[in-house]
Structure formats: C-alpha cells, structure tokens
C-alpha cells in the first residue's frame, strides 16, 4: 500500500530541485567542438576533386569547376558549389573525404526559413558562413 506514497514523496522532493531546462533561444546552446553544423566552404582551397559530391549519400552537393585563369598553372578552380539543405543530412562524410579541408563543418545550425528555395545555398553563402568553424575535421 506504500508504493504510490513513495512516488509522491519522490515528486515532492523534486519540487524544489533546480530545473534542467536549457534557456535556448534566450541563451545560445553550447554544442561540443565536434558538432556537425552547416558547412563552411572556402573556394581558394578547393581543388575540384569532386570527392565530396561523390561520397554524399543524398547527392545534395553539386559543383562545377573551370580551368585556372592563370594559364601557367595546371588544375582547375571551383566555379559553382551548391548544397541543397532540403536533403542534406549533415552526415559529415563530405568533410571527411575532402583532402584540402575546403569544406568543413561549423557550429552554426539555425537553418529555418520561410521558403524552401532559401535552403538551396550557393558558393557565396557557404563561403560567408565562416563563423564557429570546426577545428578538427
């Protein structure tokens, strides 16, 4: 007969305990350093090896390269680079395969918009997304 009384005692004890709620969004939520947020892309590092587009499980990365404007140098430079965040699952595989760390994760994660079109991020947006960049990739 005392079973439920024990439960009542437990909840009464909890009444005065400190709440564990995070105060997000009033206070920013601190994520650990390895957190996988929205990618940052630095075009100057990219060698257009196409590995990120190939490894992407949802095929959300599209890129095109063009030949180097300086005819002396070999290789390609990046022309367009788009990530479709409607289908990106932030799985970390693109940053894992990138040999030059041109694409890296950041700790930014707020992506909500009023239109789906805005989830289609281009090279410039990804380049500008350069805060809270992850240290180890």
């Amino acid at each position: 007969m005392l079973g439920f009384a024990k439960g009542l005692g437990f909840t009464l004890k909890k009444l005065t305990e400190k709440s564990v709620t995070h105060k997000y969004p009033d206070v920013p939520y601190p994520f650990p350093p390895r957190f996988r947020g929205i990618q940052h892309f630095s075009p100057e590092k990219c060698i257009v090896c196409n590995q990120c587009a190939r490894i992407c499980p949802t095929e959300c990365i599209q890129l095109t390269g063009k030949s180097h404007p300086d005819p002396e140098k070999k290789g390609k430079i990046i022309d367009t680079y788009d990530i479709n965040f409607e289908i990106c699952i932030l799985c970390d595989l693109c940053t894992e395969v990138c040999p030059t760390e041109a694409i890296v994760m950041t700790n930014n994660f707020e992506l909500s918009t009023y239109s789906r079109d805005e989830l289609f991020k281009n090279l410039k947006w990804l380049d500008d997304n350069n805060t809270n960049v992850r240290e180890e990739n």
């Binding site: 007969m1 024990k6 439960g7």
Partner: protein, 379 residues
C-alpha cells in the same frame, strides 16, 4: 412469435450488440509515430486487430543497392533512430566479416561503450514513453533528463545528438576526446544510484502494478513460433542473448548476466528492461576500466571498400532484439542486395494475437510493451 435473435448476434446477455471498427492511428498519441491499428471492437473488447504498417517506409534496403558501403552507414542511423549506434555497428560488422578485417582494440572498446550507452538511452526512452502511455507524465521527463546526459556524451564524441554516423568500416570515426572516458564512468556511477529513484517513482505504484500484471501474456512456445527476440523473448524464460550466446565484438571479455523472467507479461518486460540497464551499466563500467591507454581507432582498410563476392548474415543484440544484416556482394563497391532483420518488425507480428479478446485500455499497454520504433518497423 419468436422474436429472439440468434445466439451469435446476442451473445450470453441476450442483448444485441454491434461490432465497430476503431481506427487507432496513424495519428494516435500512443502508437509511437505513424503506426496504425485497425481494431474491430465489441463494446470495449477487441475482436480483431490488424496492424497497418508502411507509413514511414523509406526503402532503405533498396536505396542501399545504389550506395557505396560507406554511404549506407548514415542510412542505418535512421532505421531505429533511438539506437543508431547499434545499427551502425551491425552494418559495419557485416562488411568487416565479409572482408575479414581486423579491428583495433581501442575501436572495439569505443564501440562497446557507445553501444551499451545506446541501449541504456533507448530503454530510457521506452521507460518514459511507456509510462506516458499508461498515463503518468512525470517519468518521461526524468528519463529524458538522464538520456540527455548520454546524448551529450555522444554529441561530444561524434558531433551529433541522434544520427551519429559514428562507426566506419574497420573502426570508428573519432577517438574519445580528452576526459570523455571519465565522464562516462561518472555517468555510470550516477546512474547506478539514480535507477533506485526510477523504481521508487513507478515500480511500486499499486495502480501501475495492477495495470500490467498478467496483461499481454504469452508462452515460450508462442514467442519462439513468432521468432521474437530480445526482451520479448526473455520475458518468457528463454535465456537467449547474442552477447552471451554468440559473442560478437569483444563481449566475451565482460562479466554480465542475462536477466530472464517466466511470467511473460507486460510487468515482466518492464522489469527486464530496467534490469538490462543495470547489466549495461556493468558492461560499460568494465569496458571503461579495461579501456586501452592508446592505440589505433581505424584498422587497415582498403581505400575503396569492395567486399569479395558472396553473401553474409550477421546478427547482434540490439536494444529491441536481434538485429540482423544480410549482404549479398558481387565484388563491387555497392552491395547487390541488403536485407535487414528488424527486431521491431518481427516482434510486432505477435500483436494481433495478443490483442484478441483484450480490453481497449490494455491495447496501449500491450503495444507499448513491445517497444517498437516505427522507423525500424517500416524501414
């Protein structure tokens, strides 16, 4: 003139009653997602219940045929989204078995630690949501507070809170960050004490005990016939746990018990799941103590993963039961066929049998005690 109706219409009472079709779900609060149950009821008694599945079908098995082996790992996260780590593991384990890869010790320990923590986290969610189904709102929040600790540990380790994509073929992606192992053992010590509070809050409550004892009972034979696994099988007295009976990874290095019960009812399943948390804590504690000081976290893996032609089936003990992966390879970098044995799906098959003749208020108690995750049922 004889006005009485035939016996099959009136039953014993002599009153004519009508059967009614009750549609439970797919938007019912207690079907844990988008599961649907069509129940034919007579009064409050269920005559027949037909589970309708597939609302969350994403075709993972078919998708896998067009993905390289590494690309499939994030998809396995999304099967049983409460136990992503075990899903990661079983897939990597299958490919590693095919290729005969050696896994470094440190990686194996990390895998075991995260898998057991995942089992604990998964059982917390079950505990909380089951009590929510039964009508108690408090336990849900206490369970999620403790689960949050595990989730934060995982976020620190892998960078994600739910879909970890942590394991790789041949090892794990990240090494434990400094101080992580200490945090794990701190959590284990805390949780050992905190579990008593779980029992204090719920296990002794008379309403709760009366509600579950003797509800949803089935025999060992029936469980075996339906090929149930995990707690659903062990609650009938069958001592079968793949971690003990077919040790994979490094489970043979740990000392733990396989709790069983012979009652076969919802109460037995409730106690077994809580007891499994204790055993998982024991494993984590030992794994943390034995954790190698240094070492590799990735074995020697070819640059492109191409398992030799052939097929393999591996199975592990996931939080919900036996989770199996079958892979048929033709020596390419993509599997020719992947098939998953999903414990939620298999365990759910017994539901129509259990519900026949039950009261509607037991429906939720029985469905909840099976512990399904619709992502896994529908794959």
């Amino acid at each position: 003139m004889n006005l009485s109706l035939p016996e099959e219409l009136t039953g014993k009472t002599g009153l004519r009653t009508e059967e009614m079709i009750l549609n439970v779900g797919p938007q019912h609060p207690s079907t844990h997602g988008v599961f649907r149950l069509v129940a034919k009821i007579d009064g409050e008694t269920i005559k027949e219940a037909i589970p309708v599945m597939g609302y969350l079908h994403r075709g993972t098995e078919k998708l896998a045929e067009n993905l390289t082996y590494t690309q499939i790992i994030p998809y396995t996260d999304r099967l049983d989204y409460l136990a992503s780590m075990t899903n990661n593991y079983v897939f990597c384990h299958a490919v590693e078995t095919m290729m005969g890869l050696e896994i470094p010790d440190r990686a194996e320990y990390l895998r075991v630690i995260v898998m057991e923590l995942q089992r604990i986290a998964s059982h917390f969610v079950w505990w909380g949501t089951y009590l929510l189904d039964i009508g108690a709102i408090g336990p849900f929040l206490y369970a999620f507070r403790d689960r949050e600790t595990i989730i934060e540990l995982f976020a620190e380790l892998s960078g994600a809170r739910l879909t970890y994509n942590y394991m790789r073929i041949g090892g794990v992606k990240w090494d434990a960050p400094p101080g992580w192992i200490d945090k794990v053992s701190e959590f284990v010590q805390y949780m050992k004490k905190e579990l008593d509070n779980y029992h204090r809050l719920v296990s002794g409550n008379e309403i709760f005990v009366n509600r579950l004892t003797g509800v949803g009972t089935y025999s060992r034979e029936m469980a075996l016939d339906y090929s149930l696994s995990g707690v659903m099988l062990r609650c009938t007295g069958e001592k079968w746990d793949l971690r003990k009976d077919e040790p994979y990874s490094i489970y043979d290095r740990f000392d733990f018990d396989v709790p069983t019960s012979t009652d076969g009812d919802c109460m037995a399943r409730y106690h077994l799941r809580l007891e499994e948390i204790v055993q998982s804590l024991r494993i984590v504690e030992q794994a943390v103590a034995q954790f190698p000081k240094d070492g590799e976290i990735m074995g020697k893996v070819p640059r492109v993963i191409r398992p030799p032609a052939g097929e393999t089936f591996v199975r592990i003990e996931a939080p919900r039961g036996e989770l199996g992966v079958y892979i048929a390879s033709q020596g390419k970098d993509k599997p020719w066929r992947m098939k998953l044995r999903r414990p939620s799906f298999v365990n759910l098959q017994i539901l129509p049998d259990l519900l026949r003749g039950e009261n509607i208020s037991n429906m939720i108690a029985i469905l909840g005690s099976i512990d399904i995750v619709v992502g896994e049922v529908d794959a």
